[in-house]
């Protein structure tokens, strides 16, 4: 439903989006992750036709957003980050106006507005002025606006930004419910909610796509797994066993009173290192008190591929400057 190929967007000297490519299939809920200023909103604005791409292509439901912008926009419902709604209109008036602007036929407009309000849960503020509703309701009015023409694709930019936990939970539930009928691209920098809602995530950082896949699969494939082992032996002996096991690299060690030791090791990608270590310790007659491989959380994974890449880039930059 959404296809992006080698998309770049430059603002003057700043390269906001750098040759990213991804696809979103029908019925998917895809989380678009990235730190603030990573290029999420710029990418979304290109997809919605608000900005033009500097190079590359983007298609929405088969329509190129540059050459068939109107047709592409007809397939989209868009919730911008700071939901801008006209404060002097009542919620229902605003949604009727938006439905009319989006070409919902006059006869269907009332039903379309009622359906969108029910989906977004804003019926109880229908007669209130948009300027008088709370921030949570404001987000939901924006969501109702995105839904009012019943588009097959929804693009939601930070839909839970600035909301309290209850409001966030409500919005997440609404987004989950939308999956049955819509394809959703959902941007956020709050990892837990993306993990909760999305079947797949895209991670963008400094304009580049850093990861694309199911959250659990990405974390599982990560080389950042940690092994914790505690055994009834000296620290030096345990370190020796761990270091001698292929695929393990000792990170830290500590005595474990009264007579044991514990070691934390990085596990290289691949299975079997923990099992091999356990078998070797048992064969040596050492009592194993703890042996566990810990997967990083999505947050740790995100931190590693964003902050970590920053450090690598800084190092590379420093080396380049030193060479110069």
């Amino acid at each position: 439903m959404i296809r992006v190929r080698e998309l770049s967007k430059r603002f003057g000297q700043t390269l906001a989006v750098d040759r990213i490519s991804f696809e979103v299939a029908r019925g998917e809920i895809v989380g678009f992750l990235g730190p603030n200023g990573a290029g999420k909103t710029t990418t979304i604005r290109v997809l919605t036709g608000y900005h033009a791409a500097s190079s590359g292509t983007a298609e929405v439901a088969g329509h190129d957003v540059a050459t068939a912008s109107l047709a592409a926009r007809r397939q989209l419902g868009y919730l911008p980050e700071n939901v801008p709604i006209y404060p002097d209109l009542r919620v229902v008036e605003y949604l009727r106006y938006r439905a009319a602007l989006k070409g919902v036929p006059w006869r269907e407009r009332k039903a379309a507005v009622a359906r969108a309000m029910a989906k977004a849960g804003v019926e109880d503020v229908a007669r209130k002025l948009c300027g008088q509703v709370s921030r949570g309701y404001r987000q939901r009015v924006g969501l109702a606006d995105a839904l009012v023409a019943n588009p097959p694709i929804l693009i939601l930019d930070e839909p839970t930004s600035g909301l309290d936990p209850n409001q966030r939970r409500r919005i997440k539930q609404v987004v989950r419910d939308l999956a049955a009928e819509h394809t959703v691209l959902f941007s956020s920098h709050i990892l837990t909610e993306v993990e909760d809602v999305s079947s797949r995530i895209l991670v963008i950082h400094r304009g580049r796509l850093r990861a694309d896949g199911a959250p659990r699969a990405l974390v599982a494939e990560s080389a950042a797994r940690r092994l914790r082992v505690a055994a009834a032996c000296s620290v030096a002996r345990l370190v020796e066993f761990v270091a001698a096991t292929p695929g393990l690299e000792v990170v830290r060690s500590a005595p474990q009173p009264p007579d044991g030791a514990s070691v934390e090791a990085a596990v290289a990608a691949g299975e079997g290192a923990a099992r091999a270590l356990g078998e070797r310790l048992l064969a040596a007659g050492i009592a194993v008190r703890e042996l566990a491989v810990e997967l990083p959380t999505l947050e740790e994974y995100f931190h590693r591929i964003t902050e970590g890449s920053d450090r690598q880039e800084e190092l590379a930059h420093g080396a380049a400057e030193a060479n110069a």
């Binding site: 919605t48 911008p80 801008p84 602007l101 070409g103 606006d145």
Partner: protein, 255 residues
Amino acid sequence: MSGAWVTFQKELLSYCTSPVSWFIGFVFYLWRGLQMYGTAWSFALYRGDQDLFAPSTYGLQSTFLMVMLVPGVLTMRCFAEERRTGSIETLMTAPVRDGEVVFGKWAAATAFFGLLWLPSVLVLQVLELPWFFDADLAFGPVFAAYLGMFLLSGLMLAFGCFASSLTDNVLLAAVLAMLFNFGLLSVPGQLRFYLGEHAENYYVRELLDKFDVMRNFGDWFARGLIDSSQVAFYAGGILFFLGLTTVSLSSRRIA
């Protein structure tokens, strides 16, 4: 054109429900009423040419200020406010052409400006009452003057839309529009004065003649004459500025 129609309806409703619009109307008619009262008495006293009564009322200060100041106030929010609040993003990502949005907003501003002028027709009707002045106002000059006023304000409102599309500061948009309106009303006459005999050069004269709105208004519309070249001048100016506004809005889509 459904996008233009929807935009027109929404904008006209906004104007009609805005306290600023009613304040403008109130001040304008209070001032204008006082001026009309004075003008009408002087005509009655001196048995003035009643056919010229209607056109002469367009030379009132209230008319001048209404035409110079109010279009800028009406259009200042058109796009500047949408930019400031961010609603420009939802507007421009809706499946509607930029040109339709521009036309809808301009048409609503022009229609509301027309609504502000409408009660002034009633004033003329009152003057015709037998127990009041029993004036016999000619329909032609009145109609032509109103048409001229409509075209002139349409041009100024089109520029106001353009000014509003350039900034997110509504006051700056209003000031830009007022400066343009002031320039349009006064610069050609001033230039003619300062250029002296150089103004008699064929090209300079033609240019000044075309752009001297005040003189053309008095020579044509106020006398009940509708000249097609004048109508084309205003219509062309309106289309030019609406086109510029559309380009200004669409420029963000330029890679």
